[in-house]
């Protein structure tokens, strides 16, 4: 089922990328990034049946990085919300020239 897994992973990654581009809510964009990480995890697991168990070890690392990213990213979102009272990226344009 290697080909099917890789195709499913590509589709999920594309949906995640589309979500990042179309949404304005910072939290939803974060979740789209999580979906893209999940798609990559599926690739790792599918290929670990061919290349060896190292793929599953990398999935553990990816999950750790995702957890760290969620913690720091959500802290940043809370800090921005305290400052601007919104998480809509249209209104967060302090760095725009």
């Amino acid at each position: 089922m290697l080909a099917e897994s890789l195709a499913l992973s590509a589709v999920l990654f594309s949906i995640g990328a589309i979500g990042v581009l179309t949404r304005r809510n910072a939290i939803v964009i974060f979740m789209c990034v999580e979906l893209m990480l999940n798609a990559v995890n599926l690739t790792f697991v599918a290929l670990s049946k061919v290349y060896g168990m190292a793929g599953q070890v990398f999935v553990v690392f990816v999950m750790t990085v995702a957890a760290a990213e969620a913690a720091v990213g959500l802290a940043i979102i809370i800090a921005i919300f305290r400052h601007k009272q919104t998480v809509n990226l249209e209104n967060i344009n302090l760095l725009k020239g």
């Binding site: 089922m1 581009l21 179309t22 670990s48 049946k49 060896g52 190292a54 599953q56």
Partner: protein, 180 residues
């Protein structure tokens, strides 16, 4: 060749995963989006188990669906974002067009690549040792490389988590300690 029941289940959960991720991207309410994403992750956990990665399937449910998504839900609750806002959350026509174009381009690249022959160094080897996996079990076969070949990376992960915890506390703190 896997049997018919296995294939039907594989396609079924794959389709549910795609459908719920599309629902996740298109929902306006953040709470609905989180719940659809949790559904996608459950389907992926099923697929991990079907791909004989039982341990990864378990930590997918425990860590991803159980911990990370609960943190997301918690933040949505904390910021009181449960209702869809008056301003439409989804970008306008041009944003949607650009996103559709990019999505189709990514899929077209995958479709073009799937017909190609892989170059010599990338042809799958025989690194998967079914006998060793059977001997060590689902957890042991992951732990064996994790604590031998990748021990340094594993230890560095702990530093990463420490940095993330300290960073989250510092960023999330309301004000400086010496401010009052």
């Amino acid at each position: 060749m896997p049997n018919f029941f296995y294939q039907v289940n594989f396609y079924l959960f794959g389709l549910i995963a795609i459908a719920s991720s599309i629902a996740f991207v298109t929902r306006k309410s953040p709470v609905a989006a989180v719940l659809w994403l949790v559904n996608t992750m459950f389907c992926l956990a099923v697929l991990y188990v079907m791909l004989e990665a039982q341990f990864i399937g378990v930590i997918q449910v425990l860590v991803y669906a159980g911990a990370i998504m609960v943190v997301f839900l918690f933040v949505v609750m904390l910021l009181n974002l449960g209702q869809p806002t008056e301003i439409a959350d989804i970008r306008g026509k041009w944003g949607k067009l650009a996103a559709a174009f990019l999505g189709l381009a990514l899929l077209a690249q995958v479709a073009a690549l799937s017909g190609k022959r892989m170059p010599e160094p990338f042809i799958p080897g025989t690194g998967y040792d079914a006998q060793a996996v059977r001997d060590l079990g689902a957890v042991g076969s992951v732990a064996q490389p994790l604590f031998n070949e990748y021990l340094l990376a594993f230890e560095l992960t702990s530093i990463l988590l420490l940095v993330a915890i300290v960073g989250a506390v510092v960023i999330g703190r309301r004000r400086q300690i010496n401010a009052r």
